[in-house]
Symmetry: C3
Subunit: 322 residues, 3 copies
């Protein structure tokens, strides 16, 4: 979890690093989301925007992530900005010659107005933010650490449908123990009062005791172990993949993987009429394709586009243009 040294946003995103969701609060989140809706509206009307005209964003990805990179790439270009993509600098170039991470950050900041950083090591984004003198750093995932724009797009997807982030009832399913997106979404919901979440996980993948204690002060938590325990009136279902790469034992992975599969039948039986079904993607079987065309399924439509719109608004606000 993020260090307390990080700058708080407090409603003003200009020139701020975005390292951790913990920099935000209810007010900052809602301010951002109003701007997201604004850029989205322009986007949906097909109105080209030049909010980022003349701006250059370096996308510095120490591990490739086509999706996150493309989303930031598109976000920048949708607003008339330009990107410089640097993938795997550790394999080539100066980094492989022994250059420090700090020197690399200092070099790239000389070429641009902001750096979007993806790095496999926890804490890298904070190190980068401390190092960069002239441009803001946006964390696009630092290992087991944070991926704040992912959390924000999940929150936005809910907010957009429910017009609210308080007094919601939802379920989160899958690997609740390790799932970074689950932890972040819980943290985001904790900014707002009255939320209640049902955590659906196999025994082996339940939320850790310490995380449970931390969250339950602000979000009402219920641990459940089968789909039929989900209350019918949930506002959202947040389904996740069990990530094979997190398991040392193939056998354990097989035991817990795809314990909970959303089918058409299950959705119709246990979800409400206005429940939305979310997934951070990629999915590998935990939601069947037959569900995709259900209007409640947003994971292949508005949730993805929300990611781009959230990043558009965030970049424009950080670069002082919105």
């Amino acid at each position: 979890m993020a260090s307390s040294n990080l700058q708080k946003i407090q409603g003003d995103f200009k020139n701020k690093d975005i390292v951790s969701l913990s920099q935000l609060d209810d007010k900052s989140v809602l301010k951002l989301f109003e701007k997201v809706s604004l850029v989205r509206e322009l986007g949906e009307k097909g109105l080209p925007s030049d909010l980022l005209a003349g701006k250059i964003v370096v996308l510095l990805f120490y591990e490739p992530s086509s999706r996150t990179r493309s989303s930031f790439d598109a976000a920048t270009k949708q607003l008339g900005g330009q990107t410089i993509v640097v993938e795997n600098p550790q394999q080539f170039s100066s980094v492989s010659k022994g250059e420090t991470f700090e020197d690399t950050i200092r070099v790239f900041e000389a070429y641009c107005d902001a750096i979007v950083l993806r790095h496999p090591e926890l804490g890298s984004a904070e190190r980068a933010a401390k190092t960069a003198k002239f441009v803001p750093i946006i964390n696009a995932g630092d290992g087991a650490g944070e991926h704040p724009t992912q959390a924000l797009l999940d929150l936005y997807t809910i907010w957009d449908r429910k017009k609210n982030l308080s007094n919601l009832k939802g379920v989160m399913a899958g690997d609740i123990l390790n799932g970074r997106t689950v932890h972040s979404l819980l943290e985001g919901l904790s900014f707002f009062p009255g939320n209640e979440v049902f955590l659906l996980a196999p025994e082996e993948l339940k939320l850790s005791k310490s995380d449970f204690e931390k969250v339950k002060a602000r979000v009402k938590l219920h641990e459940i172990s089968s789909i039929d325990q989900i209350p019918k009136d949930c506002d959202f279902w947040y389904w996740t993949r069990v990530q094979k790469e997190r398991f040392k034992s193939e056998e354990l992975y097989k035991r817990v993987n795809n314990r909970y599969i959303v089918t058409k039948e299950i959705l119709n039986k246990y979800a409400g009429k206005v429940t939305i079904l979310m997934h951070p993607l990629p999915r590998v079987g935990e939601i069947l394709e037959e569900v995709d065309s259900d209007p409640r399924a947003v994971y292949l439509s508005s949730q993805i586009r929300s990611g781009m719109y959230v990043r558009m608004a965030l970049l424009a606000m950080i670069l002082g243009k919105l």
Copy 2:
């Protein structure tokens, strides 16, 4: 060959997927070529165009092809558009985590106005076209399948010089059995009446019987086996490389490779004054460098630029701007 389910263009390219040459006909081809000449004229005058301003094209390449990718990249940017390049998503990212091809397409279409797809598997472009809900798919080569913009640029190169695509006489040389570009060009010529083609190939690389039968109804075909059988008054020579990767036996490859080599002497002896010499590139010895400076040799000049202009016009028409 393409399925009959594909949308026919019938002169209207707007929002259409371009999966196969078979979607086109004489009318569509000529309509496209008029637009190609238009964008080319602007380009040659150095007039910047903003036909694609505000548009984003994802170049989704499951196998790298610097040339095709760069040609689409340049085509988009020449018209003021932007690209997002995604290469080898199967090695990194969500695809490697088990995501289906369909989910990947759905994700990327959320970020853009069109997807240019290169994929090693036959039929991928059609699958992508069926999957994408919001944006058109342009096939940039799907394995042994099609590469329609390559065929169109070859046709355009001829049309540009001959001002006509009917009643032409040409020769195609090399691997006539397997050559994708040869098959496509034959199909394109079959849209127009009165064409006659001499197929110059070693016995092992002659057109298959079934393909021969299919084409000969519309294009007059002659099989020849040595350069001195080429009639002097051909409108075009279409030379191709024998692709080593298609042969299981090194020995067979050696026997058929470079059977027909164009030298200055051969060109002067067997080609006419206005014959054009084409090659889809890369060449690996089948046309000597001494031929490059001959004004009839177009493979390193107008044929390449035609590729960019054809893709410019096509993108602009599909995106409703031309």
Copy 3:
């Protein structure tokens, strides 16, 4: 060193290939630097420029160099131009199928207004310049050959602080025998009268006799072997890394590496108040981080940005826009 067949710039950069520093002279360098200051001034005021609007630059990198590529990428985009990045074409694509370097150059020049080439082989840039018919080639490093924009950015960094390139006194330290940047900077300084350089190197890494003889006619050279021999009133210190990859023997590398390390104490003791401390980067220990915040240390600030500004001005002048 560059062949005498290369075009001389003689103050006019328009449509010229930039293969070697030897194409320039004092007049050309100063003309360029005036333009560099111009684009820098606009850049620092945050005024977007469209000097390269509608122009496309292919960045053709046969070996990856994130830094140099990004610098050219940023330079082009800062001026409103577009780039097409092609990395490692020899691993994929037509090059791997046996296409000649010359054919590859001919293909890519069809898509763009200029090619920036990085290649591991000495002489590649000159070959490319001879081959390209329509667009200028800019050498971004050809193996043991040249990297003229690196030399120009080093010269500009000095010129910018000293407002002069004559009658300067400096020290160059590290691998003076092999260091490409050292050789180029010496050549650049030799265009101007009255310069004096102290070469600080271990015995094994001293300037070769032939290079020493060639340079000393125009630049006064002194070979020294310890930091305390540096005169206090140097205008610049140019520190370099000993490149491990140049040594066959690990043992020799260990003996010569980091013989000379700049610490805060050393800088304060041996450098003057207005001495600037430069380094081409990456550094791997030969300047301690404690030195970074010293106002005389320019390697992580103005020297990097100078690289981008030099490339901006150069591209704009070559493409006839400045």
